[in-house]
Amino acid sequence: MDKIPDNRAWWLVLPVFLLVAFSALIPLMTVVNYSVQDIFGPGQAYYVGAEWFKEVLADERLQDSLIRQFVFSGFVLLIQIPLGIGVALMMPKSGIKGSLCLILIAIPLLIPWNVVGTIWQIFARGDIGLFGWGINQLGIDYNYTGDTLDAWLTVLLMDVWHWTPLVALLCYSGLRAIPEAFYQAAEIDRASKWAVFRYIQLPRLKSVLIIAVLLRFMDSFMIYIEPFVLTGGGPGSSTTFLSQTLTTMAIGQFDLGRAAAFSLIYFLIVLLISWLFFTAITHADKEK
């Protein structure tokens, strides 16, 4: 649809602009302000330029949690996207069974994030949790509070449990929008199941999949509450992701300058990667 050029449309956007400016721009300016100053107390601030940024970029603790974060987000996407597509393909197409599946699958999405952490904290315990107990019964030594690998796998499993439903539901709604005639044509051509998936379903899923990848990347990159409740970032700092490192720095140690510089770098990374995805989305929209 062609859009009409009309600058008066700004009046309609103004409320959103003011609201978001209030709740994003002012705080962001505060962060920028902190990031270039060394603050000793009220009225005692010194301009230090890019000093904090240099220090943060050289900080090993931060580099470690950045690497950890990328590995985590990578695994999240690698597991959740294919699994989500698979689940969506299996869901009943319509009727009461379809609605029921939809609601049941959506349940993990509706649970507050700290409760997600609590659920897994209980569920994965060796003594009172079904999962931890079951694994131990199989003769595998499993303890997510003591062993680094176990902690990682538990956090990853928790995230897969928590967010695969979102990918599945996105793909499901994409699949529902494919006209029945496409499938009939495929049947006449005696297309194999794989061909149907590869040449009919997957191309039609493209735009939803970009949304899914974008949302999953952003949210997994900001993960905080769930691992914090589950493992507290441990053992050691093996499951301490970026947000937790930042929160500890800002609130725990009250290290304002460094935390602010870190915030900006963090934000820029998310922004940069998301911008690439966003360009891909608008590109896909145009093609249609």
């Binding site: 009309d6 309609l12 609201l19 209980i122 499901y172 939803v208 998301s274």
Partner: protein, 268 residues
Amino acid sequence: MRQTRSKNVGITLFILLLLTPVYWLLNMSFKTNQEILGGLTLWPQTFTFDNYAVIFTDPSWYNGYLNSMLYVSINVVITLSVALPAAYAFSRYKFLGDKHLFFWLLSNRMAPPAVFLLPFFQLYSSIGLFDTHIAVALAHCLFNVPLAVWILEGFMKGVPREYDEMAYIDGYSFPRFFIKVFLPMIRSGIGVTAFFAFMFSWVELLLARTLTSVDAQPIGAIMTRTIGASGIDWGVLAAAGVLTIVPGLLVIWFVRNHVAKGFALGRV
């Protein structure tokens, strides 16, 4: 036929696995602490409602739920009322800086809440809104408004502009057209947007916890109290957790007929 059956088995298995952790929480909420710590039981041997009774009789517990529901509702109302006109503008008009504005809005959905923790605390303290529901509702607008604009814009693009033009020819003013004609046409989009706004505000804790202390404290923050001197009160913790799932279930039940379309954010 065999294909459908294997699909059914697969999906049933997935849902069962998905619900097991939730069942475990539910199971635990009906047990006494002695039974929880005494050993593994697949269902409550001594069935008890005591854990729920603790929550429903203690104001400092149930107020947490009321606080959460209040700021979530305020957030949904604010989000929808500002996002609807903006989404209309984005879907219908080309104006100065529209693309940049749109990306800037979306970029706020990408901002890690941890980045805004401290500035938010200072901002809302300095204007005297600290520990109020409105502060949390406004803070959650940071990620809900951009998402709402994005979803609604997708739905509005699906309505041909001929409707707008017809309404003007018939003598409708813009507000009257917008409320009487346009909004009813995208009601499933509005329902889905409300659902997403509810969901993301309800599940968020980091900002909600930082901006409140007593009067507007969300249930998530209150749940940490179950860790007392005598260890964790597992039963009450489980019961509190189960109760946080209920509002979400109610909301998704109301929009169940629209979610299939809505989950694609109006983009298929």
